[in-house]
């Protein structure tokens, strides 16, 4: 009570003090993860891009649902099959006062291979053959083959001034010496795993940022982050753990913001001729791989009750998934309907496939990559045991899981996948297409799935510059992969932010980024 009175008093005081000028204010955000470096070309890590976006702009930007919008480039179009022209924004200044021109964009692209680390940014320049400066505000990119996804790749292309030279490395960026961008905030300081301090860029070309000073504080521990908000040390936090969401909903001091994320928990059944971990009936290893039979995969899909997963297991923080991407993404098919739960039909299919009494199978998942991965894993094992299967579910730390998964040691796995670029090529090229080192496809296809029809339709899409035609092909590919149960999507995970009540307005983003310049003081 006294505290409330005190707050009212402070608010009244603030109102009288802040006359006509805009309310000057600072924002402290508690985040689960931050950058590994201030060099924007060091790593593709999501939390790295999220943090550095405040200081550096990209050529192409993305909206809340990851669809493209202009950034430092105002427009882009293919000139011919292997050439793209980007028209750049005029009158943009770097934080040191110098002008942004096409030279800086060219320099940024060429700098990447020289400085990038073990999460290489070259991923986003892999289609670039060469870069040409036509004039100060026109950049021409020659591509290796037809590259319709080039603008999508450039959503992570941060622009640094060419004046910093090729020798600037992480140390120069971390100290602030080379941390010069065109972004809405200027870099002040950063400590690894600590605070990143930013101050407003008054000359920003876009919408003026609302806060004078922003501190992005890394608090990886969930409970510590929640405590920091509740004790008033931070104004806002991301990744509110599910266990705290219910308590916070009943607490009038905090306000929650929820949205679907890009992350979907997918089941990956190995369809190789010989499964890595044996599948057994009555203790005897079966001949061949039962998972190769589409009826078996369909049966397992039908036995999943996604409503229970969402409402009970994830306590409401999810949405049933119909495919590998959320709605609205480039290549999402409307033809795929909600997946039914039908145990009878599932049992019938399993009997038809020759396993009336089920089989024993190993099922391996991650337990620390995304909220809920371990509990969904256990729940799935139980759902399949109703179908008559004996499931040895094991949820492992990502440190153990990913290297073993890369060696293809698991028969059936579940892990989260996010379509970071907002379009299907990213996901289908990595997960679903036949493994093909030459074309650079199927690097994460650990199931051995290979469907020539899918490869053809998807491959045609990647060679089609016309946007509508490409969209149609990707949608068709979505249907083929999902009918085939190449992977079985279960739930789209939701992410939750919390802030002090009545402090901020914030539109949650699918990519889970917390952008300080998109947060405004509440009306």
């Amino acid at each position: 009570m006294t505290l409330k009175l005190f707050r009212v008093g402070v608010a009244a005081l603030a109102l009288t003090a802040a006359a006509p000028a805009a309310m000057a204010a600072d924002l402290v955000i508690g985040l689960r993860a931050g950058p590994d470096s201030i060099d924007p070309h060091w790593s593709t890590l999501g939390s790295q891009a999220e943090a550095l976006r405040h200081v550096f702009d990209t050529l192409v930007d993305v909206d809340e649902t990851l669809q493209l919008k202009p950034g430092l480039a105002v427009s882009w179009e293919p000139v011919d099959d292997t050439t793209w022209d980007f028209k750049l924004r005029e009158g943009v200044k770097f934080h040191d006062g110098s002008d942004f021109t096409a030279e800086d964009a060219k320099f940024s692209i060429e700098r990447i291979p020289a400085v990038t680390g073990p999460m290489p940014m070259t991923l986003y320049t892999k289609y670039v053959e060469s870069v040409e400066v036509i004039d100060d505000y026109t950049l021409r990119v020659h591509t290796k083959g037809i590259a319709p996804a080039l603008p999508n790749d450039f959503t992570r292309l941060f622009v640094v001034p060419s004046e910093i030279g090729m020798d600037a490395r992480n140390e120069e960026f971390n100290s602030g010496e080379a941390a010069i961008g065109t972004g809405p905030y200027k870099f002040v300081s950063w400590q690894p795993k600590g605070d990143m301090v930013l101050s407003r860029n008054a000359d920003y070309w876009g919408e003026a940022p609302a806060w004078d000073n922003v501190t992005r504080r890394e608090i990886p521990d969930d409970a510590a982050r929640v405590a920091a908000l509740r004790s008033g040390q931070v104004d806002m936090i991301n990744y509110v753990p599910a266990s705290d969401v219910i308590a916070m909903e009943n607490n009038s001091d905090v306000e929650l913001f929820k949205a679907d994320s890009i992350y979907i928990l997918n089941i990956a059944p190995s369809v190789k001729d010989e499964e890595p971990q044996p599948i057994k009936v009555n203790g005897q290893e079966v001949d061949g791989n039962p998972l190769q039979d589409l009826r078996v995969r369909k049966a397992m899909d039908l036995a999943i009750n996604r409503d229970v997963l969402v409402n009970v297991v994830l306590e409401g923080l999810g949405t049933p998934a119909t495919q590998l991407m959320p709605e609205g993404f480039f290549g999402y098919s409307d033809k795929l309907e909600a997946r039914p739960y039908d145990l009878e039909q599932a049992k019938a299919l399993l009997t038809e496939a020759g396993y009336p009494d089920g089989f024993e199978i190993d099922f391996t998942c991650t337990n620390n990559r995304v909220p809920g991965d371990a509990v969904v894993c256990e729940a799935l094992a139980q759902m399949w045991s109703r179908l008559g299967l004996t499931v040895n579910a094991q949820a492992l730390n990502g440190t153990v899981f990913f290297p073993a998964a890369a060696r293809e040691e698991y028969t059936m796995t579940m892990s989260a996948w996010g379509t970071l670029t907002g379009e299907a090529a990213y996901t289908y090229g990595a997960l679903v297409h036949t493994k093909d080192a030459e074309k650079g496809f199927g690097n994460f296809n650990r199931t051995g799935y290979s469907n020539p029809e899918f490869d053809r339709v998807f491959g045609e899409g990647t060679q089609t510059l016309d946007e509508d035609a490409r969209r149609g092909l990707y949608e068709e590919a979505s249907v083929i992969a999902m009918e085939d149960r190449a992977l079985i999507p279960t739930v789209i995970l939701q992410s939750v932010w919390a802030a002090k009540s009545g402090l901020v307005d914030f539109l949650p983003r699918t990519d889970q980024e917390t952008r300080a310049y998109a947060i405004t003081p509440a009306e």
Partner: protein, 324 residues
């Protein structure tokens, strides 16, 4: 004495070697760090190029030899995650951990030893029983849980102290520390208390056990018969005699607190080395893991050496043996 020191140093070098081999083999057995770090969208070509770039395609012994020759030149390597030198990474976070440990060990000693002495001096009194009950709580209740309770009580409900993080630093006598500012103390007090509870419980029990035993011995009876006041008997005669196990355990605890204060550091978001090492393990950042563990080995060897020297000071028998 010089011989004793040299033996200790030789032992330390051996342990450091063994440690680095273990970590190398261990990380190698878990898997390729690139598979943990790499971006999901990376192509096979990018992956292979990276593995070559970090020398992870070489046989293990060759990677180890490269590492050793770098260490011999004083280069512990660069973190794969942060791309800054491991030495600067560890030393940028060490002051925070040192502060935390210093305050918590002081708390544990200043409260734990007198409480233990009292509990051993009057074992049947109510006060002694209360102290013993609390000491059991101190080392049986998990640290993270007590930490959460402290935060809920003092930071969230009462709002007296901050819930985590380190306070602003100031420089006093050439040392930059957050202990030089009032805000710094407000930040350090909860995590230090949390970290000290286990050690406090341990010290109380050790001191009490020694005290109870010593009070029954003949020299105490003689001292009493001589008419010496109890205060003098306890502080002059009993305390030095029961100090040896206390100093040994204190040394071990100091080392493990410095190296592995990770639970408290996580709960209170304290920017120390414990959090750094856990993150490095999760990301298989091998250069950081190896260097940090080597640092910990050296730390333990040094603390044990200090403990040995103090014991020699306390007990003439040890001193005479060592001097032979």
């Amino acid at each position: 004495m010089t011989g004793f020191l040299l033996t200790r140093l030789a032992q330390a070098v051996l342990v450091v070697f063994a440690m680095s081999v273990l970590v190398f083999v261990g990380v190698y057995a878990i898997g390729n760090p690139i598979d943990v770090l790499i971006d999901p969208g990376a192509t096979q070509a990018i992956r292979e190029q990276l593995i070559r770039q970090y020398g992870l395609d070489l046989p293990l012994w060759q990677q180890y030899v490269t590492f050793l020759s770098n260490v011999a030149q004083g280069d512990l390597g660069r973190s794969m995650v942060y791309n800054v030198s491991v030495t600067s990474l560890v030393f940028s976070r060490l002051p925070a951990t040192l502060e935390l440990v210093l305050v918590s060990v002081t708390l544990a000693t200043v409260i734990g030893i007198p409480a233990g002495l009292w509990a051993g001096y009057r074992p049947e009194s109510w006060g002694a029983k209360a102290i013993m009950a609390l000491s059991v709580l101190g080392f049986s209740v998990p640290t993270f849980w007590i930490g959460m309770l402290l935060i809920m009580g003092f930071a969230v409900e009462l709002g007296w102290l901050p819930s985590g993080g380190r306070g602003p630093e100031a420089t006093v006598f050439g040392i930059t520390t957050s202990l030089a500012t009032g805000k710094g103390w407000a930040h350090v007090i909860l995590p230090a208390l949390n970290l000290s509870l286990f050690k406090m419980g341990l010290l109380i029990r050790l001191t009490r056990a020694g005290m109870v035993e010593a009070m029954r011995t003949d020299y105490v009876k003689f001292a009493r018969a001589q008419g010496l006041p109890d205060r003098q008997i306890v502080l002059r005669h009993v305390l030095p005699n029961i100090s040896i196990p206390i100093v040994t355990v204190f040394g071990l605890e100091l080392g493990s607190t410095l190296a592995f204060a990770v639970v408290t550091e996580s709960v209170f978001n304290w920017p120390g080395v414990g959090k750094l090492i856990i993150d490095s393990i999760l990301q298989l950042d091998r250069p950081v893991m190896v260097s940090y563990l080597i640092f910990v080995v050296i730390l333990f060897v040094m603390i044990n050496l200090a403990v040995d020297l103090i014991q020699a000071r306390l007990d003439p028998r040890i001193r005479l043996k060592g001097g032979r």
